[in-house]
Amino acid sequence: MTPEELLEQVKQKFGDTVTESEVKGVEVRLTIKPEASWEACRFLRDAGFEYLNCLSGADWMTHLEVVYDLSSLRHPNKVHLRVPVDRANPVVRSVTDIWRAANWHERECYDLFGVRFDGHPDHRRILLPEDWVGFPLRKDYADERLVPYTDYGMEEKLPRPEAAPGAPKAAGPPKAAAPLPPTEP
Amino acid sequence: MTLKLGIFYFLAAFTVWAAAVVVLGKNIVRAAVALIFSFCGMAALYVLLDAEFLAAVQVLIYVGGITILLLFAIMLTSRIGAKAARVINDQAFLSGIAAVGLLAGLIYASTFGIGAMAGPPRLPETAPFLGRALLTTYALPFEVVSVLLLAALVGAIILARKE
């Protein structure tokens, strides 16, 4: 099965829940609405993608995103599946019943981004202490202990290439939003 | 002979003291440890009576085997070591009477003597004599006792199994 055929199948099956799609080499890149994400994962697993390489999150300021990287041990195709979720109420259905590997990945994603995984068997923080406040990898997370990046003025001096369309703007240093409650217990 | 007598009294006092700790101690592990000392004192008394084989067996079986199993059981039973055991219970009176009666009997026996308690002749080596006696004269009681022990062992295993 070529990546193109796979993409066709997915599009047929999931119709307009597939908002973006692209084939890049052996990799199929998909964006799917959260309500169809579990079914899509299930479909892809049955299509031979039995190996969940990575599950990560990203904060696009407007929305959060859960990213699944899938591959197969039998054929070279890969899938890069992105599921945008609402920032205020980030819930997506857990895929731990499809790949057990998702267990700790989803816990990490919850820990650092605050995405809730519906149906996760052990929904706890994993890297941070259990009483930590806030989700540190969100772009608006502020912490006075965080050392911001400084380029000593290099950014302005050098010519700036055109940003690709659709790409987000550079986030810049975190804006001092409403101060958070102290994190020290 | 005064030296031997002195040693005897010292060992006897030590044994009785250790036995008293076993009975009166509140901490069960300490009581078990005192029991070991008591057994060792007994073994030393056997040596004084020229019963060296008996002394060695006393240490090997009672100290090396039974008390260790006892300690093992105490430690396996969770938190029993931390609890203070009740020393006096409602059977204290009965056991007191039994102890006093036993003591009286022993004092009588050792002062006036009973025919049956006249010991065997002094032997240079007790072990060969014991061995021969156990396998000839007393072969049947020996076997009966071992069958009894075997039955006890099987019973213990059946009790210990969960199913």
Binding site: L73, R125, L128, L137, Y149, A171 | -
Partner: protein, 383 residues
């Protein structure tokens, strides 16, 4: 971000949460225990000596690696990757620079590619040696520890001659390598390989051929191959389940497709298979290094790179085969000097998540052996 109700931790709290009674015993192993290989805490649920369940607690070494990564520029991140898996820093550097190069579409000079492979494979040997050493120590064999450290020391000497460092090398650069090998380095490396190949039977004599060792590891900590894939195990962990899966061969990167090497596979799925796989991998790595040294082309070691590295906007997930398995870097770039999102998929993190599965039904004394066989490095797990 409202304050979440803190979830109670600790043995009694977990028992209450899971509704368990005192019928089963709970034992905490770690975080202060000599055999947990770092600050890892395992909560073991026991029925007598047998393990019913196990809950690993990690995070004691969390260093906000990904958050820091988002606040540093691409070059500045390289030294941080050293601290991920501090026993295989070369492999960590390799995975990271490869990801950024793939994002930028840079072609790295041939000589640099060969150098990278040589160093990464030497690093694999060093990492497996350290694993074998500590694994032996866990099982009570102290002598193998010193033997392995002797050879690892030689690898570190080679690394020191190249990079000036013994542990955290930071030697790979985006676009190539910073320095060529020193004058006599190639001969030294060849001499080491000759010596090393003769040492492998010694390890066998101390470990693999020893009946006591075999009794301890055979049939212990087995995991079903299907479950292994389901859990996303990688590296020696999945190859010990009879699955021939090695990214150097299945998804070739750098110049790995030019070398001849076997992928050791064992299908008993237990601790013994993991031992055998790693032991054979050391020999295979030595073979790769020999071939790479023989083929080492002349030429540049650095591609032409802009002064400020600014990959075009886009995202890439790039996976490499580190000594512990699939090391993935996921980078989202928005065209600025620092990554917009920087994520590490660390192999030991995923491998450790399958530990409860492997421990079920084992004896308490097996925990040390099984945990040792997973080959965890907490620096990489906690990031």
């Amino acid at each position: 971000m409202e304050r979440e109700k803190p979830i109670p931790i600790g043995t009694t709290a977990v028992m209450e949460r899971t509704g368990e009674t005192m019928e089963e015993m709970y034992v905490n192993m770690g975080p202060q225990h000599p055999s947990t290989h770092g600050v890892l805490r395992l909560l073991l649920k026991l029925d007598g000596e047998y393990i019913i369940d196990c809950v690993p607690f990690i995070g004691y070494l969390h260093r906000c690696h990904e958050k820091i990564g988002e606040n540093r520029n691409y070059t500045q991140i390289i030294p941080y990757t050293d601290r991920l898996d501090y026993l295989a820093s070369m492999s960590m550097n390799f995975g990271y620079v490869l990801t950024v190069e793939r994002l930028m579409g840079v072609k790295v000079p041939e000589r640099a590619e060969h150098m990278r492979v040589i160093l990464a494979e030497l690093q694999r040997i060093a990492s497996h040696l350290l694993w074998l050493a500590t694994f032996g120590l866990d099982l009570g064999n102290f002598t193998i520890f010193i033997y392995c450290f002797r050879e690892r020391e030689m690898v570190l000497d080679l690394f020191e001659a190249v990079s000036g460092q013994r542990l955290n090398y930071s030697f790979y650069r985006i676009g190539g390598m910073p320095m060529d090998f020193p004058d006599t380095w190639i001969d030294d490396c060849k001499a080491f390989l000759d010596w090393f190949k003769q040492r492998l039977p010694e390890y066998d004599a101390l470990m693999g051929d020893n009946v006591l060792f075999q009794k301890r590891v055979q049939g212990v900590g087995a995991i079903d191959p299907k479950l292994a894939v389901d859990y996303g195990l990688s590296g020696p962990m999945i190859r010990s389940c009879g699955i021939r899966w090695d990214l150097r061969r299945n998804d070739p990167y750098s110049v790995y497709d030019r070398f001849e090497f076997e992928i050791p596979v064992f299908d008993t799925c237990d601790v013994w298979a993991r031992y055998m796989v790693r032991r054979q991998e050391m020999a295979e790595s030595a073979r790769i290094v020999e071939q790479a040294l023989a083929q080492l082309p002349a030429g540049d070691i650095m591609a032409k790179m802009p002064k400020n590295i600014r990959p075009p906007a886009g995202q890439v997930y790039c996976r490499t085969e580190s000594p512990r398995g699939e090391l993935g870097f996921y980078i989202i770039s928005n065209g600025s000097v620092k990554p917009y999102r920087y994520k590490v998929r660390s192999p030991a993190y995923v491998n450790l998540s399958a530990l409860p599965e492997m421990l079920k039904g084992c004896l308490v004394a097996d925990v040390v052996a099984v945990l040792g066989s997973v080959d965890i490095v907490l620096g990489e797990i906690d990031r």
